[in-house]
Amino acid sequence: MITLYSILITVSVYLFVRFLAKKYSSPLTSPVFLSTIMIITFLVVSNISYGEYMSAKKIMTYLLGPSTVALAVPIYKNRDLFAKYFGAAFVGLSIGIVTTITSAILLAKWLNLSDMFIRALTVKSVTVPVATEIGRIIDGNISLIAAYVIITGMIGAMFGARILNLFKINHPFARGLAIGTIAHGIGTAEAVKEGEVQGAVAGAAMGIAAVLTSVIIPYIIDFII
């Protein structure tokens, strides 16, 4: 019963926010952000704990895997573009990952955050399932990692397009790459809406960033913290 109620709430809130986002486009109506806040409010008011919400979550996220796989479709459709910009993509992706992790660690150290908080920052830009896997390898706090990743994704989805506009980054390939590298799946979901190229590149960048980070971070983490 609670499961059914949770699903009903989640789906209706999502549909409502989607409708709202179409009418009023603002960082505050970014679907993942606003829906999450509204659903948490509903759950708290109805006295449902996250533990009780879990079974509904399992049912609703069942299609996340196949959805990620579906990203192969826009990647395939834009394969000539990928071949053409391969060099630029590789350089941009590597620099994007390095600058975001380095700046996060330096800032965290400067603000006197403890080792647990800093350690988890190394995987903040990686898609949820991969980040938690790397988290186990580097002995990080898994729920903290999940929170970093989700919040980073929301930041990218809410402000990504605006930041790119501000710095006159208007090439669709570069826009998709930046969003996918930094804001993984949640950012990609926004990039898909901006355009097919952006969505395809964001999806591919998310995958490649995940692979690069998981190959490199476990080996260098002890040197950079």
């Binding site: 989640t10 908080f117 980073t152 990218g156 790119l164």
Partner: protein
Amino acid sequence: MRKVWKFSIQMLILIVIYQIGNWTAGFFHWQIPGNVVGIVLLFIMLWLGVIKLEQIELASNWLLKHLGFFFIPISVGLMTLGDIFVEKGLVLLVVLIASAFIGLFFAGKVTQTVIRENEKEKVKYHDHAL
């Protein structure tokens, strides 16, 4: 009715590819998640023509349109982190926002600059050839 049938079959194909991706990653003990392996698998199958675009496009487009939805139930998990965020929330938010903006800027700017430089060079080369 035919469309529902077609949609379900396409969805099933994507689910099977995803599961194969999971098994493959697990079998070889790769540190790469199954869904990323699934992307590569589906791409190769499309490339080789084993699967045609129109055989999965209906379900794929629908899933991608609602990709954001699947992250919502996961994000609701943030409600369990109340304590940490009450204590350190603002500082953490500053770190996450600043580093995300820096990463977005560098990834985007570098990619765009390299693309534009390459295209300029090609034009020059073309002029010489003429």
